[in-house]
């Protein structure tokens, strides 16, 4: 274990949470966020800001609160937990009652661990929600299918076979289809909950490449168990431990000289 005076052990969150400068464009921020499952507080003190067009990773052990935090960001916890505190998006607290949750999720989309394409054709997977929202213009729909698949780096592999069932695709392709489906709604922010953990290294690498392409246009927040993945692709990393964001900083700082001993121990594999 590292003996380093620079590492502090008091875990005082405020000192170790990165604050963006005046000029940074903040896409989403949380204030005094608390999540309760019944009486059980699963998350406290998750005050984080997410910079626009950057990839931010949330890392930590199972039960550390990182997924709970992520799911709160587009109110996936509404029916399972009580979420207190503010989640500010474009000056609006999306956690307030007046917000139309479905409309909000169009802006803040979520991709889950297991690829979950609909049992429909590749094309219908992408157009389904658009049609539901009343879009009928065939040319427009086709255009969106193409651009979404291109952005998700899947177009070249499926363009001749858009009528094929999505379920016939490989796991990695399915996951990229799900990403294409999410970005067809033109969200601002993409939340990803361990999007590559069910995939092999090659598919994982393709998803990572896709995310690096996507950050040109989207703000990305990703929960990952794979610390190497966080190190490889993200600009910022937040380390969660027992329901708190313990440390949040530029990824290269987190992985070369973290400030908090717990972070250091976690990323270097000195667990418990």
């Amino acid at each position: 274990m590292l003996e380093n005076e620079a590492l502090n052990t008091d875990n005082a969150p405020l000192r170790n949470i990165y604050r963006f400068g005046e000029n940074a464009e903040i896409a989403l921020s949380t204030h005094d966020l608390h999540v309760f499952y019944g009486d059980n507080e699963a998350l406290s003190e998750g005050d984080l800001e997410f910079e626009r067009y950057k990839i931010t990773s949330l890392i930590g052990a199972s039960g550390s609160g990182k997924s709970t935090f992520l799911r709160s960001l587009n109110r996936m916890n509404d029916n399972v937990a009580t979420v207190k505190g503010q989640i500010m998006y474009r000056g609006i607290d999306i956690n307030s009652k007046e917000v139309d949750v479905y409309e909000m999720r169009r802006h803040i989309g979520m991709v889950f661990q297991r690829p979950n394409p609909f049992a429909k054709s590749i094309k219908d997977n992408i157009t389904f929600a658009l049609k539901q929202r009343g879009m009928r213009d065939k040319n427009k729909l086709e255009e969106i299918v193409e651009t979404s698949l291109k952005q998700a780096a899947l177009w070249d592999q499926v363009k001749d076979d858009l009528g094929k069932s999505a379920l016939a695709l490989s796991g990695g392709q399915q996951q990229r289809l799900v990403i294409a489906r999410a970005i067809a709604m033109k969200p601002d922010i993409l939340l990803l909950d361990e999007p590559a953990s069910a995939l092999d290294p090659i598919s994982t690498s393709q998803i990572e490449d896709t995310l690096l392409e996507l950050k040109e246009k989207y703000t990305i927040v990703i929960v990952t168990h794979n610390m190497q993945q966080a190190a490889r692709i993200s600009d910022y990393t937040a380390f969660f431990h027992m329901g708190k964001a313990i440390e949040y900083d530029e990824t290269r700082k987190i992985f070369t000289r973290p400030k908090v001993k717990l972070t250091n121990d976690y990323i270097s594999g000195n667990f418990g």
């Binding site: 994982t204 690498s205 990572e208 490449d209 690096l212 190497q228 190190a231 490889r232 692709i233 990824t251 290269r252 992985f255 070369t256």
Partner: protein, 225 residues
């Protein structure tokens, strides 16, 4: 997931080569200043050594980050390790160039020997050329070229030996040459060291290319002069 890593590796290579060029230029200038008794250029070299040191620190920091973020293996690891090792050799070369510059300031005003200074000039030119060549070999990943350049070390060693013999003969004939003679020995020693470091870099290039750690300078004396 190669893209970011490859970009950063290319940047690392570029910074290393740039630093190498700066060092090679400084070595060349330090020898020219010495034989031209050019105190001003010597001072300039002494003052610019900090720049070389800063570059070394920046490159080292970058390699640490790349190892922490990407956990490279095999060829990628060897490339980063090569930069990390070779950059220290470059930094030391810079220190020796600065020492030559310091000798330039010391020796000014004492009685000198044109013929020895000519030998030193030749030695300096050969050394500078070795540094330049090794950078080319590094860029081209040319293990064989690296071995060829390392072999030039022999010639620099012979010239250094020549300087030593000439200095002894000169001092025996004329004791007034003792002051400058001492500095000639020191400067020849610094140049010989620089050539030794080139050999070390050559060994790392071979490692990068083949994964084998070799000794390209077997049996050659690494004594100062």
């Amino acid at each position: 997931m190669r893209r970011l890593f490859d970009e950063e590796l290319a940047d690392l290579d570029a910074s290393f080569t740039e630093m190498g060029m700066l060092v090679s230029e400084t070595i060349g200038k330090s020898v020219v200043a010495f034989v031209n008794h050019d105190r001003e250029t010597a001072l300039e070299i002494i003052n610019s050594d900090e720049q070389i040191n800063q570059r070394e620190v920046a490159i080292e920091k970058k390699t640490f980050e790349m190892i922490a973020l990407y956990q490279p293996v095999t060829i990628d690891l060897r490339e980063i390790v090569t930069v990390l090792k070779a950059v220290s050799e470059l930094e030391r070369m810079g220190d020796h160039a600065r020492d030559v510059a310091e000798a330039t300031i010391r020796v000014k005003g004492t009685k000198r020997s044109a013929s020895i200074e000519e030998t030193i000039a030749t030695m300096g030119e050969q050394t500078r050329q070795m540094v330049k060549d090794i950078l080319g070999v590094y860029v081209n990943d040319d293990a064989q070229g690296a071995s060829v350049i390392a072999a030039n070390n022999l010639s620099v060693g012979q010239l250094s030996h020549q300087v030593r013999l000439d200095v002894i003969t000169n001092i025996e004939k004329d004791s007034e040459l003792a002051t400058s003679g001492t500095d000639y020995l020191i400067v020849a020693g610094h140049l010989k060291r620089i050539a030794d470091y080139v050999t070390n870099i050559a060994e790392w290039i071979v490692y990068k290319r083949t994964g084998k750690i070799v000794d390209l300078n077997p049996g050659n004396s690494s004594s100062f002069v």
